[in-house]
């Protein structure tokens, strides 16, 4: 989707009579820009505040809570979050001193999200192609069934899925976390099918005449042509699975399968209600959020301009 940069020029003629009108417009624009500025501020300030807190010491935070700059500048928070401090040192700096292996959770998150994104998009694309371009009996009926799946809210399947994963003895494994969303989501299938249907038939027919089989056409022609929606969908899927909390919380009990979101909640629960290790918690929060910010920064333009398409079209 190209971003049309049409700044509508004012079509009013410049006569002396419109001066007050002009003034009112520019006042309105100033107010609008102020509102925009405020929105940006509210959006971004919490991020800065977390960075500032992560770089502060807990003692400093208590002494000077409103200072806009880090108080007692140091990397103690990050060291605690990453488990680089000894328990004694951590407790001295206001940490819980419990062991949290953030590198491991980071790795778990990467494995689960990569697995889900890779498999889900690939399998969904194959299904979408079968729905969009292959001819077979009962196609529309099966697709209708998939669409109906779109209507079932995810929460509804969570409990039964937990029972199922438990019966498969996959509780507390990374497979258990990944499995339910590994094969498809109705949305991904639906989304990609829409796109495949818009690819001109001639493209495919030309390849057929050249003697290419349907499988080859799918991999060599259709998938490359769909790279933009595939990438957008992948990034959004990655972010979604990275941020998921409820399902991993249900399925994982120990370090072996703990992902970052759950680890963060555990970190929070470990510190006492009075005297929370805000510096360490903020550092951990940043560590958990940073990969998504980086990922987004790489694909921002593409995602931003195709959000409308993914959402509702």
């Amino acid at each position: 989707m190209a971003v049309a940069t049409t700044t509508t020029p004012p079509t009013t003629t410049t006569t002396t009579g419109i001066r007050p009108v002009r003034r009112r417009i520019s006042f309105g624009r100033a107010a609008a820009w102020t509102a925009m500025g405020l929105i940006v501020l509210i959006t971004l300030l919490p991020f800065y505040w977390i960075l500032r807190t992560a770089l502060s010491s807990n003692a400093g935070l208590g002494a000077d809570p409103a200072n806009p700059l880090p108080v007692g500048l140091g990397t103690g928070g990050f060291e605690r979050a990453l488990g680089l401090q000894s328990a004694k040192e951590a407790i001295a700096q206001g940490g819980a001193g419990g062991g949290l292996d953030f590198w491991r959770y980071l790795l778990n998150s990467v494995i689960v999200s990569t697995l889900i994104t890779g498999c889900q998009i690939f399998f969904s694309a194959m299904a979408a192609y079968a729905f969009a371009r292959l001819r077979w009996r009962g196609r529309d009926k099966v697709f209708g069934l998939f669409l109906a799946g779109l209507m079932v809210p995810t929460i509804f399947t969570l409990l039964p899925n937990f029972v199922l994963v438990k019966q498969l003895h996959l509780v507390d494994t990374l497979w258990g976390i990944a499995l339910p969303s590994l094969f498809m989501t109705p949305f991904a299938v639906f989304f990609l099918r829409q796109f495949f249907m818009n690819i001109p038939l001639e493209v495919e027919e030309a390849a057929l005449l050249d003697g290419a089989g349907k499988v080859k056409i799918f991999f060599r022609v259709i998938l490359p042509m769909a790279s933009t929606p595939v990438i957008t969908l992948s990034v959004l899927t990655y972010i979604t699975s990275w941020n998921d909390y409820f399902w991993p919380l249900m399925v994982s009990y120990s370090d072996s399968s703990r992902v970052l979101t759950v680890a963060l909640a555990v970190f929070r629960a470990q510190t006492p209600a009075t005297g929370v290790d805000w510096s360490g918690l903020s550092a951990a929060t940043l560590i958990a959020a940073l990969p998504m910010l980086v990922l987004f920064a790489c694909f921002a333009r593409r995602i931003v301009s195709s959000i409308g398409f993914t959402g509702i079209k």
């Binding site: 049309a4 929105i39 959006t43 809570p65 498999c119 409990l159 029972v163 199922l164 941020n243 249900m250």
Partner: protein, 301 residues
């Protein structure tokens, strides 16, 4: 949403692709049946049983539903959830609309759109923790500002009246950018010459908003509303990290109560029955909203 299933595209050789289709469809279909269709049916089945994971599910008929109807905590959590949804969706929709219009009428900057979207990249857990800290009664900058303005410090997440509005606003912060971009995409579909014509006729921005933007955006707005309301009903993460349902059940949203019943008290049957109730509520809302908005189709093709 265009849910039109068109007729199959004509292929020159006319043969069916049955085998290949089966191959291509197999993984997705497996996932669909095992992790979506079967769990959906099983969820309904479990709601008629007593089940604690350790012994086989025991059929008890409508017992769980009878219990639900007589369970004051269930009704209370439903009430809390509705309160949350109304606040969350109300504020979020108005704010998202404002942001979308500002983005459209003021500038088309992709950078600004990117900035607005950043909170959406955070997990609910992160968003919850960030605001938990900002709103901390003793040390949070939010409360520092409140007290600098001359008010008493507010225990935002520890007070029964403040907790739900606070959680609702935290989730507005996280989701408003995404919603705004969906609406923005809808706004992009409105041709610019409509605005220019109106401007020539002497209409101001305010008038154009109500006479052009709102009517033409209504179908998109309706779809976005259905999506966000359904999402909003499923609130869990933010509650789990900030208040854990407290104080005194004040933020015990339905989803949290269901989770507690299943994993805290191992009443999977009862939890499933409440899930069915939630599903029914959500379906009713979807149908209702769909009906209501279909009647008001606009003339923008």
């Amino acid at each position: 949403m265009t849910i039109a299933s068109s007729s199959p595209p004509s292929h020159r050789e006319g043969r069916g692709d049955g085998r290949l289709a089966a191959l291509f469809l197999a993984p997705a279909l497996l996932g669909f049946v095992v992790f979506l269709l079967y769990p959906t049916l099983r969820g309904v089945y479990l709601s008629f049983t007593r089940f604690n994971l350790l012994t086989p599910a025991e059929w008890v008929g409508l017992d769980n539903y009878v219990r639900m109807v007589h369970d004051p905590i269930f009704w209370d959590s439903l009430k809390v959830t509705v309160e949350y949804v109304v606040l969350n969706i109300g504020v979020q929709t108005v704010a998202a609309l404002a942001i979308a219009v500002l983005l459209q009428r003021l500038t088309q900057s992709a950078l600004l759109r990117g900035i607005v979207l950043t909170p959406y990249l955070m997990s609910n857990v992160v968003a919850g923790l960030v605001w938990l800290w900002i709103l901390d009664t003793q040390l949070g900058i939010g409360n520092e500002i409140v007290s600098a303005l001359g008010f008493d410090r507010i225990p935002f997440l520890a007070d029964e009246t403040w907790a739900i509005p606070t959680i609702a606003l935290i989730n507005v912060w996280r989701h408003v950018g995404y919603t705004a971009l969906l609406l923005f995409a809808g706004l992009q579909a409105i041709p610019n010459d409509v605005y220019e014509a109106a401007r020539v006729d002497g209409a101001g921005e305010w008038r154009m908003f109500w006479r052009i933007t709102m009517p033409l955006l209504r179908p998109v707005l309706a779809v976005v509303l259905i999506m966000t309301v359904i999402g909003s009903f499923q609130v869990f993460d933010t509650v789990a990290v900030t208040t854990a349902g407290g104080p005194a059940n004040a933020t015990n949203v339905l989803q949290y109560y269901i989770y507690g019943s299943a994993f805290g008290r191992f009443q999977f049957g009862y939890a499933s029955a409440m899930s069915v109730a939630l599903l029914v509520v959500l379906s009713a809302i979807t149908v209702l909203q769909y009906r209501l908005t279909r009647a008001g189709r606009t003339d923008l093709g």
